[in-house]
C-alpha cells in the first residue's frame, strides 16, 4: 500500500486506544504520586472512550457514544471524590505518595 492512498481504517483508532490504555496501566503501576496515578486512570478511561466511539462508527450504533457520556460522568464523580480523599490524607500526613497510605490506617 502506497503512502498516498493510505486509508485510515477503524483499526488505527483501536490500536491507538490499546496503546493509550497500556501506557495508562503501566503509569499506574510505575508512579507513586497519587495525583499522577489518578491522571493515569484518566488516560485509561479515555482509551476506553476512544474504543467506544470507534466501535460506534464501525457498528453504526449510537449507543457507543451514549456510553461515553456515562463514562465521563463516572470519571468526573471519581475525580471529585478521589481528590477530596487526597486532600483529606494530605491534611493528616505531609505526603501524597502511595507508600504513605499503604497500611490502610490513620
Amino acid at each position: 500500500m502506497s503512502l498516498a492512498a493510505l486509508d485510515i481504517t477503524p483499526n488505527y483508532y483501536l490500536v491507538v486506544g490499546a496503546l493509550l490504555f497500556t501506557i495508562g496501566a503501566v503509569g499506574l503501576l510505575l508512579r507513586r504520586n497519587v495525583l499522577v496515578m489518578f491522571m493515569c486512570v484518566e488516560l485509561m478511561l479515555n482509551a476506553a472512550n476512544l474504543t467506544f466511539v470507534t466501535f460506534s462508527r464501525v457498528l453504526d450504533d449510537v449507543g457507543g457514544q451514549v456510553i461515553v457520556f456515562f463514562t465521563l460522568v463516572v470519571a468526573a464523580a471519581e475525580v471529585a471524590i478521589g481528590l477530596a480523599i487526597i486532600v483529606a490524607i494530605f491534611r493528616r500526613r505531609r505526603g501524597a505518595t502511595a507508600d504513605d497510605v499503604r497500611l490502610l490506617k490513620g
Partner: protein, 210 residues
C-alpha cells in the same frame, strides 16, 4: 496522504507523546498539562469519527473541568515538587513494564478474535435517516440517551449528587477535628506540650489587650 490521515497521525503523535509524558514526567504540574494534550488529541479522534457532541463534551468536561480540578489540588497541596525516582520496592519498575507488555499483547490477541455478535445499529443508527429527516449527531445521541438509556441517565444524576455530597463531607473539617489535627501536627513538628500551652496563653493575652 489524505487530510484524514495527516490529522490522524498528528493527533496520534500528540496523544501517545502526551500519555508518555504523563507517565515519565517528574513534576505533577507538567503531568497535568501533558494530560491536556492527550485529552485534546483524543477529542480530535472523536471529531474525525463524526462524534461532534462527544468531542465538545470531552473538551469542556475533561480539559476544562477535570484537569483544572487536578491543577487546583496540586497548587492547593503544594505537591508540585519533584518526586524522587528511588523506588522502595526495587523490582516494581521492571515488573510494571513487563505487565504492561503482557497487557498490550493480551489486548491485541483478544481483538483478533471474531465479533461477539456482529449486530449493528442495535441502539439507533448514526447514518440512517429517521422519519424521513436527516438528523445531526446531537439529535441522534439525545434520542437514544432519553429513551433507551433514560434509567441510566437518571442514575448518573444520583451518582453526581452522591459525589458532590461525598466531596463536601470529605473536604470539610469540623471544629473539634481541626483542633485535633493542629495538635497532632504540632507534636510531629517537635513542639512540646508546654510550648503549645504557652503559645495558647499568649494568644489569649493578645485577644484581651488589643
Amino acid at each position: 496522504m489524505t487530510v484524514e490521515a495527516v490529522v490522524f497521525f498528528f493527533a496520534a503523535a500528540l496523544a501517545l507523546g502526551g500519555a508518555l509524558g504523563v507517565v515519565v514526567g517528574r513534576n505533577p504540574v507538567h503531568c497535568a498539562l501533558l494530560l491536556v494534550v492527550t485529552l485534546v488529541a483524543v477529542a480530535i479522534f472523536f471529531l474525525l469519527q463524526d462524534a461532534q457532541l462527544v468531542f465538545a463534551v470531552q473538551i469542556i468536561v475533561y480539559a476544562g473541568a477535570i484537569v483544572v480540578l487536578f491543577l487546583f489540588v496540586i497548587m492547593l497541596l503544594g505537591v508540585d515538587k519533584e518526586e524522587s525516582l528511588r523506588d522502595p520496592i526495587p523490582y516494581q519498575r521492571p515488573a510494571a513494564v513487563a505487565l504492561g507488555a503482557i497487557l498490550l499483547a493480551e489486548i491485541f490477541v483478544l481483538a483478533g478474535r471474531t465479533w461477539a455478535t456482529g449486530a449493528t445499529s442495535a441502539r439507533g443508527s448514526l447514518r440512517r435517516r429517521v422519519d424521513g429527516q436527516d438528523l445531526g449527531n446531537i439529535q441522534r445521541v439525545a434520542r437514544t440517551l432519553f429513551t433507551d438509556f433514560l434509567w441510566a441517565f437518571e442514575l448518573t444524576a444520583v451518582l453526581l449528587v452522591i459525589a458532590v455530597v461525598g466531596a463536601v463531607v470529605l473536604a470539610r473539617r469540623s471544629g473539634q477535628r481541626a483542633q485535633l489535627d493542629e495538635h497532632e501536627r504540632a507534636i510531629e513538628e517537635g513542639i512540646t506540650e508546654a510550648e503549645l500551652s504557652e503559645a495558647a496563653e499568649e494568644d489569649e493575652e493578645e485577644v484581651v489587650t488589643p
